[in-house]
Amino acid sequence: MTLGDAAEPLVHIQNFRMDFGDTTVIKDLSFDVRAGETFGFLGSNGSGKTTTLRALLGIYQPTAGTLHIGGKVFEPRDGARLGYLPEERGLYKKEAVLDVMVYFGRLKGLSKTAAKTWSQEYLERVGLVDKAAVRLDKLSGGQQQKVQLGVTIMNDPELLILDEPTKGFDPVNRRLLMDIIEEQKLAGATVIMVTHQMEEVERLCDRVILLKDGTARAYGTVSEVQEQFGGTLYRVTFEGILPASALYDVVTNAGGRAELAPRLGATETGVLRELVEAGVAVRSFTTARVSLEEIFIQVYGEQQMAEVQ
C-alpha cells in the first residue's frame, strides 16, 4: 500500500503547535519532506524533534496544525509501508529474536515464510544469526538495536523515520547501520533522520531542518543552510600578522592557520591581494563551505554541542 502521490510532498507539516500543560514545546513549525529524499531533522536535546515525529505518527495529539503523511493524518490501520525506529528503544524482551521479528513482519503484511526468510538473512548480515533463538534480553544493547533496526526496515518501507539511529553504536556498527540506511535510500525509501552526528547528515541528507526553541532556525538543502550561515570560508596557512579588513571577519586564528568569513561583495582575489599587500606570507589559500557542525555550534552554542555528542 503506497503512502501518497509522488507529486505531493510525502510529509507535510503546517503550523504545528504542541503544548504539554503550560509548556509550549513546538511554537509554529512548518516543513515538507519530499518523496525519495533523505531529510535530516536536527536540533539540540529538548528542541522538540521527537515530539514532532510522535505527533506526525499519531502517538501525540497535536495542539494545533496539520501533520500529514501522504496527504492525510497517519493511521496504522492503513497498512502503510512505514518503518519507525523510536528514540525509546524496546521490543518484547522475553521473546526469542526470530519470533519477535517474524511477529512484526507479519504485522507489516509479510507472510510467515517471507518474514522468517527475511529475518534470517538480516540477522546473518548483522552477525546475529546465531542469536535467532535467544531471548532479546540476553543480547547486548547494541545487538538489541540491530534487531530493532531490522524490525524497522522490514517489508521495504516507503517512509523510514529514524530517531537517533546510531545512538549507542560503536564506529564499526555505526558504519554498517549507515550502509543499511543508504541502501534503503537507494531502493527509493524516503528517510527522515534525527541525529546529532553531522557527518551522517553530510553523507546522507538531501535537505535538513534545524529546530531551536520550538521553531525552525534553518531549512533547506545542506548547501542552502550552509549559505544561510555564512556559506563560504577561506582557510589560510600563513606567516605574519593578519590585518583587520573590511573584506572579511576572522573566525579562527591560531598557529599560523586562520578561517576568514568573507563579507558581502568580497572575492577570493580581493582578500588574497589584501593579505599579500599587508605583508602576510600566504602559504596556502583554500575556499571551503561552513560545516554543519560549525553551524550547529553557532545555533546551539559550544556547550549544547558537547552535550549532544
Partner: protein, 412 residues
Amino acid sequence: MAFSQHNLGTVVGFEFTRTIKKKGFAIATLSIPVLLVLLFVLIYASNSSTEASADAQKNASLSFTYTDASGIIPAGMAQAAGGKTATDPDAAIAAVKDGSSEAYFDYPADPSTEPVKVYGADKGMFENGKYEAVAEQLLNAAAQSQVANPRLTAALSGGVDFDSETYRDGKPSGGIESVIPPLLFLVLFYVAMILLSNQMLNSTLEEKENRVTEMILTTLNPTTLITGKIISLFSVGLVQMLVFLAPIAAGYLFFRDSLALPEMDLSSLIIEPGPMITGALLLLGGFTLFTGVLVAIGAIMPTAKEAGTIFGPLMAAMFIPFYTFSLIISDPDSVIVQVFTYFPLTAPVTAMLRNGFGTLSGMEATIVIAELFIVGLLILRLAVHLFRYGSIEYGKKLSIAGTFRRKELAAK
C-alpha cells in the same frame, strides 16, 4: 479491513503462543491437575484403608453390659446385639475401668428427660464413638419394635420420601434443580476472572515496561492489539480450564467407584431457557466490563507493582455481594441488594445470584445486561484511548484528563 483481520489473527497467535510457552504458565496450569491426581491417589488409599477398617469393624462384635430402668429394651434384642444385663452398676463400671468389660450402658427410667450414660474402654477418638452409636441404635430399635406399626415406625424413623412442587406465576417452579444450572454461569465467571484477571491487567503493561509501545502504535491499530490480547487471553483461559477439568473427567469416567466420587444425576437438573440466556448474557457482560476495567488500569499504571494496588480492591468488589447473600435470596428489593444489582462492579455477581434464585425480574435483567455491555464497551474504548495516548508516558502514572486535554485535529 482485510489487513486488520490479518493483524488481529497475528496478534492472537503471537500472544497465545508466547503465553502458553512460558514456564510459569506451564507450572501454574499443570500444578492443579497434578494436585488433583495426588488428591485422588490419597482418597483412593484412604478409601481402601477405610473399607478394610469398616470390614474389620463389621466382623468384630461389641460386647457390653447394661441396666435398663425404663424397661424399653427387650432382653432378647440386647442379647442379639452382644449385651448382657448387669446387676450392679458400680461393678459394671469397675469392670469397664479395669478392662474386663468393653462397655456398659445405663438406660435411665425416663430417657426423654435423663441422659443415657455410656461407659467404654478407650479405643481412640474415632472408634470411641461406636459405644454411643450402639447404645442409641439399641434404644431406637427397641422403641420401634414396641410401636408394632410399620407406617408409624417409618414416620418416626424418617424413612418417608417427600415429593415437593412449588408454583411461580401459576406455573410449576423448579427447586434446587432449577437453581443450579443458571448459577453455573456465576462459577464460570469466577473461574474466568481468577484465571485471567492478572493477565488482563498485565497485558498492556508489558508494552509499557518493555518500551515497545511506539513500535506497536505505528504498526498496529490499538483497538486491534487490545482485541487480539483479549481473545488470546480467553483462549488461554479455555486451555487452562480444559487442563483442570481433564483429571476430574477422567476420575468420573474411569475411577468413580474407587475414588468414592458422588454420583451426579444430571437428568434431574431443570434447564429453563429464560434464566440460562440471562445468565449467559450476564456472564458475557460482566466479563466485558471487568476486562475493560483491568485493561484500562494497565494503561494508566506505569508498572505491574503499582497496578496491583488497585487490583486488590477491584477483585474484592467481585466478592462483596456474598456478604448480602441472605438478603439477595430473602429480600431482593432491599436497598443494599438494589444498589449491588445496579452498581457496575457488583452487578454481575449480584444479578447472576438473583437470576439463579429466580428473584431477578425480566425488566431488571434487561437493564443490568444493557448496563454491563454499554459500560463495559465504553470502558474498553477508554482503555484503548488511554493505551494509545497514555502508554507512551513510560514510567509515569497517567493523567486520564491529560489524554483528553489536547484537541484532536480532523483530517483535512
